[in-house]
């Protein structure tokens, strides 16, 4: 972020000048047809801004953002890894970016081939051969998976099942998805080692069990030590096991979901497979299933006959989960990424993600409390901030805000819900040792400051475009759109603006 970033940026509407134009379009080259006056709008209150000012506005706004290309972005369970630049060259190819989804299959064989091969790669990586590329994001993959499991039970005439088991460490999307699928959520406790508590699981499975939604490694960054037993307990009552693939980065290329006992998994292409997050999306959440479940997948999926590729709707498909064929350009990026790593290198992602996380954890031990001190973590780990809160009155939120002062994005905080005052840190494999040392040194300094100068943390961040924002006010009296041009004084920065900025 440059110093320009600290200047208050007007909202587009505040920049509007009547008559300003940002674009030139050709004149109509056809004879005129009268416009349908009775259907037309009287006013189109969009801003009027010149091209130069549009470019400067968004460029200045961009400078108020932190991003992966600036440095570590250690949000746990988000897998903010480097997004290879060649992916972006790939998606710009006109045969990918400029094809219409409804063109005849014969005219888009290259696109279908790419999708077909990606289906196969994801089938290989998960060990689950039925693949749909349709879901647009992880949560939509979850909904897809739950509806596939529902269809499986119903097809067997098994209509009484209505409970989905979800561990207390799960992402919020898991219970929310179960509700959308029409099911009741039954929470399963975690044990002292961060695993699913087997006794609690046994007590909660029964003939009403639809299945279990399990994230492995879980959101504590821990591998489920008895994962095969967990799956077996669910299978024994006729339920299926859904794998939330949010944390695939820890095991990709090393361990297949099928070998652990999962029946259905999704993968977030915007996490493990390097599709950029774009400030919140788009992603893609393909779903992989055991062979007997492939008939229920949402389609269409790509099939190959001879040398020809075409779309096909699985026989007992749950239907469509979105329009067209999935987030195709995200699929192109993931395909490019997998081909770039290839069979020789894919496992290096997981190995290095796990080394990096354990190294960072080792560097922070002592100054911070790991939530599960006896265990090696996988790609991420969780720190318990209770001691800071009790001893110094410093909350995890304060630590996170002070991290911003140090020039980094803070980790995930207050999640998972089962660890109080937690920090959840995922460095990914694309951080060098040097950059991890820099980050660790900053965190160690903050731990020291918490003891010696807690107010420094309470008032952080100090050098950002804005300081802490009043979120209560935002929610109490929501302003969700621009309404009126505010007096300039109200939007001006009352602080002295850094030298050199006009």
């Amino acid at each position: 972020m440059s110093i320009v970033a600290n200047k208050l940026e007007p909202i587009l509407y505040e920049m509007s000048t009547p008559g300003a134009i940002g674009v030139s379009l050709p004149d109509s080259d056809v004879p005129e047809t009268p416009l349908p006056q009775h259907l037309m709008r009287k006013d189109l209150p969009l801003p009027e801004i010149s091209e130069v000012d549009v470019v400067r506005h968004f460029t200045r706004l961009s400078q108020k953002n932190y991003c992966v290309d600036l440095g570590i972005y250690p949000l746990g369970s988000c897998t903010m890894k480097y997004n290879p630049k060649m992916n972006e060259e790939a998606i710009k190819l006109p045969g990918f970016s400029q094809i219409h989804p409804y063109q005849d299959a014969e005219t888009v064989q290259g696109a279908l081939q790419l999708m077909y091969e990606l289906q196969n790669y994801l089938g290989e990586i998960s060990g689950l051969p039925g693949v749909t590329l349709q879901p647009a994001a992880g949560a939509q993959g979850e909904l897809t998976g739950i509806l596939v499991i529902r269809a499986y039970h119903l097809a067997r005439g098994d209509t009484a099942r209505n409970e989905v088991l979800v561990p207390d460490s799960a992402h919020g999307t898991n219970p929310a998805t179960s509700t959308m699928g029409g099911f009741k959520v039954v929470e399963v406790k975690s044990d002292r080692r961060g695993n699913v508590d087997l006794d609690n699981l046994r007590a909660k499975v029964n003939e009403k069990t639809v299945g279990l939604m399990l994230t492995n490694p879980n959101t504590l960054g821990l591998f489920e030590e008895r994962v095969q037993q967990v799956c077996q307990i669910v299978h024994d009552v006729g339920g299926l096991v859904y794998g939330d693939g949010a944390n695939l980065n820890a095991i990709v290329g090393l361990v297949r979901a099928s070998d652990l006992g999962f029946d259905v998994v999704h993968t977030n292409l915007h996490k493990t497979f390097s599709v950029p997050h774009g400030g919140g999306g788009p992603g893609a959440g393909p779903v992989m299933v055991r062979e007997n479940l492939a008939q229920f997948l949402p389609g269409p999926i790509v099939v190959k006959h001879g040398n020809e590729y075409s779309f096909h709707m699985p026989q007992h498909s749950i239907g469509r989960v979105k329009s067209f064929w999935g987030n195709f350009l995200a699929l192109v990026r993931a395909y490019t990424y997998i081909r770039s790593y290839g069979r020789e290198h894919l496992r290096e992602i997981a190995e290095n993600a796990v080394i990096n996380a354990n190294y960072l954890l080792a560097r922070l031990r002592g100054a911070y409390e790991p939530a599960f001190p006896d265990r090696k973590c996988k790609h991420e780990f969780v720190l318990d901030g209770t001691r800071f809160a009790k001893q110094y009155g410093v909350r995890t939120l304060d630590v996170a805000k002070r991290i911003i002062d140090m020039g980094f994005y803070p980790p995930t905080i207050y999640f998972p819900l089962i660890v109080p005052e937690c920090l959840m840190i995922e460095p990914t494999e694309t951080q060098s040792k040097a950059s991890l040392d820099e980050f660790a040194d900053a965190l160690l300094q903050i731990a020291e400051e918490a003891r010696t100068d807690p107010d420094l943390l309470h008032s952080a961040p100090h050098n950002t475009p804005v300081s802490r924002l009043d979120e209560t006010r935002a929610a109490r009296d929501p302003i969700l759109r621009y309404k009126t041009r505010e007096p300039l004084a109200a939007m001006r920065d009352p602080e002295i603006i850094p030298t050199g900025v006009g």
């Binding site: 888009v108 070998d259 950029p276 999306g281 081909r339 911003i404 924002l469």
Partner: protein, 446 residues
């Protein structure tokens, strides 16, 4: 080691030593032994140079819109994208950032979402717009869920038969688990008034109508809105944002919720995705709506700033009681729409809409004059139905030889519209392309 992994072997050795293990394998000792080191059958790694060569070859197998004249729409449209859009959205600061959870270093993303929300409100005539859904189909499904959740005793959704077939299909998938019936499209040739006469009652939570509809028809829906409201249900309109450059905002004719496919606002046609689900509603529905919202607030020094707000609706807070499971959305596509609308502005968007209208009507006139062809649409924006002398699939094959991507074959979804082609025309089509289409269609006849 692969080039995307920065650590050297020496780094790794030093790190393992600090961790206190002798090898990487030790870090995976909690994985069942028989599951470790799975054989994964993938092609070998490729260098950037080799891989780009392969990708170019795959891309070259596809007939694309820089090379072909396109008259295909049906929910995805080929529109002009000003250079400002790709240049600004691909700035790494936007492109490689996450969901703006820490607002102090995410003001760029947050303000652009606020601006996007504001402009969508102005386009649609709504009070609030969210930060996006996956696409037009899922935004429609979320609107239906909102409608059902708005009432205690209404649990039926009526869809117009002319709502996009894939939106209707997606709606069914989304609502199936919750047991919410979707009615109205049993007879795909039934007019909307007949559908309402048959289904609209005290059990109806929402009525979903597209305007322009899937067949391109634009209508004054005031009377329909009144009728829906008189029955106590919500009126949900699926809109085409470019058309809103000239047509009345749905909020001004009674819509309670406006949804739509936002791809046309600066997003690549890209074989169907990622696209942009537009969702906007009247104020009283905000707290029941799904998806992220950005709100304006102040910092500790009173400076204006933006934050994610009303998060108590969302899955990470409310879990099984959330309004939806949506987390990742289509933020970058919303940013593209934001930059697009800022660039086009008041005048540009109107101009694009009128160009689409003018060119489409010219094409319709010319086709109507061809022997053997009949244009059956009346009041349309940029898309219309043509009854052809032969099956559309056959015609499109011939058009392909003329470097033309023909219209949508309606017989796939509307069996009563046999030999009917849905032709879309945008500002990208020149008069010369329209003439070439006429020549090719004439040849088909013979």
């Amino acid at each position: 080691m692969h080039r995307f992994i920065p650590n050297t072997d020496a780094d790794r050795a030093a790190m393992l030593k600090t961790i206190g293990v002798g090898s990487v394998e030790e870090l995976f000792s909690d994985v069942p032994r028989e599951a470790m080191n799975a054989q994964i059958n993938l092609p070998p790694a490729l260098s950037e140079l080799e891989l780009m060569r392969e990708l170019r070859a795959m891309s070259a197998q596809n007939a694309h819109l820089s090379d072909y004249a396109g008259f295909l729409g049906a929910g995805a449209y080929n529109h002009f994208i000003p250079a400002t859009v790709p240049h600004l959205i691909f700035r790494a600061e936007f492109f490689t950032a996450y969901t703006p959870y820490q607002p102090e270093i995410s003001q760029g993303t947050l303000q652009t979402i606020f601006e996007y929300q504001s402009m969508i409100c102005d386009l649609t005539g709504m009070d609030a717009a969210n930060a996006s859904h996956y696409d037009g189909a899922t935004a429609t499904a979320e609107a239906a869920i909102l409608a059902v959740n708005s009432f205690r005793d209404r649990e039926k959704i009526i869809v117009a038969p002319t709502l996009h077939p894939e939106y209707r299909a997606t709606l069914r998938t989304y609502l199936e688990g919750q047991g919410i019936p979707i009615v109205g499209d049993e007879d795909l040739s039934a007019p909307l008034e007949a559908v309402l006469a048959k289904h609209l009652d005290a059990k109806t939570a929402g009525v979903i109508v597209a305007n322009p509809d899937f067949l391109g028809e634009v209508r004054d829906l005031r009377a329909v809105a009144d009728r829906v409201h008189a029955a106590g249900a919500l009126f949900i309109v699926s809109a085409y944002p470019i058309a809103l450059g000239m047509y009345e905002a749905p909020g001004n004719y009674g819509a309670d919720v406006v949804v739509g496919e936002g791809q046309s606002l600066g997003n690549a046609i890209g074989f169907g995705g990622p696209y942009l689900g537009i969702f906007a509603c009247k104020e009283k529905h905000i707290r029941r709506s799904a998806g992220r919202l950005v709100g304006q607030t102040v910092d500790t020094q009173g400076r204006r700033g933006f934050v994610l707000t009303l998060q108590a609706r969302e899955q990470h807070i409310r879990r099984e009681k959330a309004t939806s499971n949506i987390c990742t959305n289509e933020a970058l596509n919303a940013l593209a729409a934001c930059v697009y609308l800022a660039t086009m502005g008041k005048q540009g968007l109107r101009q694009v809409a009128e160009l689409c209208y003018q060119k489409a009507h010219q094409a319709a006139r010319e086709i109507a004059a061809l022997p053997g062809y009949r244009v059956t649409s009346n009041e349309f924006f940029n898309e219309f139905v043509v009854e052809c002398p032969r099956a559309v699939a056959d015609i499109n094959q011939i058009l392909h030889e003329h470097k033309i991507i023909g219209g949508y074959d309606l017989s796939k979804d509307y069996p009563h519209l046999k030999n009917s082609m849905l032709v879309a025309v945008t500002e990208m089509n020149t008069h010369a392309q329209i003439d070439a289409l006429m020549d090719a269609l004439n040849e088909v006849k013979r």
